[in-house]
């Protein structure tokens, strides 16, 4: 994986020293809170409900054992012994003191990590397919391009004060595991006549106006990526609304101007920008690509794996938490951070150390964080999986639920977040606990439940097969359900089912909904989303609102 150059290391250390001075000046009163707030946000520091929060970028979701171990050390030394992995491949520490944050950032810088551009109206952490570099269906590893974008966008002087925050996601596989159509820019790597390129999608986003992105260019030669991105950002900078923050994202710019007008302007701007690039970016990309060379995987006999499948506990875990690797004798392991009853996406420092050790001993020192708030070990020999599973069980990390009902995405919600209108995590905990107790999870099969504690939609609720949005209705938490959302290459925004439910009525409503699905489906192979697409919302609405007088039509 990419290792910091001297330039990167100096740059990050300089930023930490600068921020340390800013914190000192704030504490002595030389800076007011009004002056300090934009400075702390540029370094990923928020003031939440109970404490400051530090959001650390995990670029394109990739880290190694030493970095994971450092996150554990930070959690123990300056926080409360755990961290929260987010839907944007970041980690958030919920309890740091302001006075300690410069030391935390120094500790991160020592292992090539930072919190730069994890907040503010700039280009945020570039996210990528969490199976990148390993997936059987992959055309090309997207991480070299993601790293190129990270380097280009970090402190880019033209794009530090955009109309609003700007999120880029990239995938190198036809199966979209990076939710590219829900990003300001989504990039899908392709090949045309053997030549590498990308499909460029713009104007996707969630929040109060959820929109699926549209294709701006169906094939862009890979070498043109940076000038083309610059052209998009320049057009957005020109036309993006600065008068109303709710209309400031590029999705609204595209909506108001039309994709054809935006395309015309981007293509004109692209020609100007392209002329200014003289090849340094391609030289940088070549060097970056060498850093992402795939690990040398030695062919292994998988007999131990086949024998272990006789153990029902191992077999259940293998059935849900393993994904096809490009080498058939290896597997991609999803380590679930969704143990029913515990906060989705949280890992203790002890668990982080176990993951670091396992990555180093059995996984070629590679770890990924998924936007679904799980940890991925992308290169594990099938022969080593029984051993890995035993170690995960001992650490409380062997929950066999990847892709099932209790593998819930949930934002921090009102238990932590200053923006939230309702709680998310306790709802996720209750849902997971309830359906696990019922024993229906495996029968229900593939299901994505996503929960947001406010309209900003950090929990991607619009993209959940079942989405849950927590709102404040006259001082009482109320939960709206959306149905039929999809984050993948068949992306769709879920439809609102009807009036919301108070917290104590939500789980009975979900149980009615899912029992109705079990009765309606053609068989176990027809997922909830497939059944919803075949039948439409009506039978599911009827299950959610059984007492409702229905329109005879």
């Amino acid at each position: 994986m990419y290792a910091y150059s001297d330039f990167d290391a100096d740059f990050v250390q300089t930023r930490v020293a600068q921020f340390r001075g800013q914190v000192d000046r704030r504490l002595t009163g030389a800076l007011t809170e009004e002056e300090f707030k934009p400075l702390r946000l540029m370094n990923g520091v928020y003031l939440q409900l109970h404490a400051y929060m530090l959001r650390v970028a995990i670029p394109y979701g990739t880290l190694n054992g030493a970095q994971m171990r450092r996150l554990a050390m930070i959690a123990d030394r300056w926080d409360r012994g755990y961290g929260h992995f987010t839907t944007r491949q970041n980690i958030q520490f919920n309890w740091p003191g302001l006075v300690d944050i410069p030391d935390m950032l120094d500790a991160l810088a020592e292992v090539g990590m930072h919190a730069i551009q994890t907040s503010g109206n700039c280009i945020r952490n570039v996210t990528a397919d969490h199976f990148a570099g390993a997936a059987a269906d992959e055309i090309e590893d997207p991480r070299p391009l993601a790293e190129l974008i990270r380097q280009w966008s970090t402190d880019h002087p033209e794009f530090q004060f955009l109309p609003r925050k700007f999120k880029v996601a990239i995938t190198g596989a036809p199966a979209d595991r990076a939710a590219t159509r829900a990003h300001d820019i989504g990039l899908r790597m392709l090949k045309r006549d053997g030549a590498p390129g990308v499909e460029v999608i713009i104007g996707g986003g969630l929040g109060r106006t959820p929109i699926i992105g549209q294709v701006l260019r169906d094939f862009l030669p890979r070498a043109d990526l940076l000038p083309y991105l610059e052209a998009i950002l320049a057009v957005y900078n020109r036309h993006g609304r600065r008068d109303n923050k709710y209309k400031a994202r590029i999705k609204i710019t595209v909506l108001e101007n039309g994709i054809d007008t935006i395309r015309t302007e981007v293509e004109e701007e692209f020609l100007r920008r392209q002329a200014l690039f003289s090849g340094e970016d391609q030289a940088a990309l070549a060097a970056i690509s060498r850093a992402f060379a795939a690990p040398h995987l030695i062919p292994r006999d998988a007999a131990a794996y086949d024998r272990a499948l006789a153990d029902p506990v191992f077999a259940a875990w293998a059935a849900t938490n393993l994904s096809p690797h490009r080498n058939a004798d290896h597997a991609i392991v999803t380590v679930s951070l969704k143990a029913p009853g515990l906060p989705p996406g949280d890992a203790t420092s002890a668990q982080m150390r176990v993951l670091a050790d396992l990555a180093e001993t059995l996984g070629h020192d590679e770890i990924r964080i998924s936007h679904e708030q799980n940890v991925i070990l992308p290169h594990v020999a099938r022969a080593d999986l029984p051993r890995l599973h035993i170690a995960l069980m001992a650490a409380g990390l062997a929950t066999a639920n990847a892709g099932l009902l209790s593998d819930i995405i949930a934002c921090p919600g009102m238990d932590y977040c200053a923006l939230a209108t309702a709680r998310s995590i306790p709802i996720a905990q209750d849902i997971a606990t309830h359906f696990t107790r019922l024993g229906l999870e495996r029968e229900i099969g593939a299901l994505k439940i996503k929960i947001s504690g406010c309209i900003n939609a950090c929990g991607h609720h619009h993209l959940g097969h079942i989405g849950i949005l927590g709102l404040d209705r006259a001082g009482v938490e109320n939960y709206q359900i959306t149905l039929g959302g999809d984050a993948t290459e068949t992306a769709a925004v879920g439809e609102r089912a009807g009036p919301g439910f108070p917290a104590d009525a939500l789980i009975p409503a979900l149980e009615r909904l899912l029992r109705a699905y079990l009765g309606l489906r053609h068989g176990p192979d027809e997922t909830f989303l497939d059944a919803f697409r075949r039948l439409g919302a009506d039978p599911f609405r009827a299950a959610l609102y059984p007492g409702e007088v229905r329109d005879a039509a």
Binding site: R26, L27, T28, G29, T32, E33, L47, Q48, L49, H50, A51, Y52, R80, Y82, P96, G97, L98, V99, G341, L342, P343, D346, T348, M414, D415, Y416, A418, A420, T421, R423, I425, P426, Q429, D472, G475, V476, E477
Partner: protein, 97 residues
């Protein structure tokens, strides 16, 4: 976050966050800050509340973002009327992991 307060005065407590640690604080009857919400002073009078706010506004090197939150008298200290503020003062509602 500051809360705009218009119209008739409702009983309220004064809160802020500690600058160095970020933890939420409440203003006591002794005119000091504490982390213990049980000790919050319930203002029943706009003049007193405004005076405390004015004093808090001069404490920018120790606290952040002072504001008043509506509360009602209750055994064990004033109770914020909005659940967000109750969670803010008492901590996450989920079990620690």
């Amino acid at each position: 976050m500051s809360v705009a307060r218009r119209g008739a005065f409702h009983p309220a407590i004064l809160t802020a966050n500690d600058l160095a640690s970020g933890v939420p604080l409440v203003w006591t009857s002794d005119g000091a800050w504490t982390r213990d919400p049980v000790l919050a002073h319930l203002f029943n009078d706009a003049t007193d509340a405004d005076a405390a706010m004015a004093q808090a506004a001069t404490q920018g090197t120790s606290i952040v973002a002072p504001y008043l939150i509506d509360a009602t008298p209750a055994p064990g200290g004033p109770r914020p009327t909005v659940f967000r503020e109750r969670i803010r003062l008492t901590g996450p509602t989920l079990a620690p992991n």
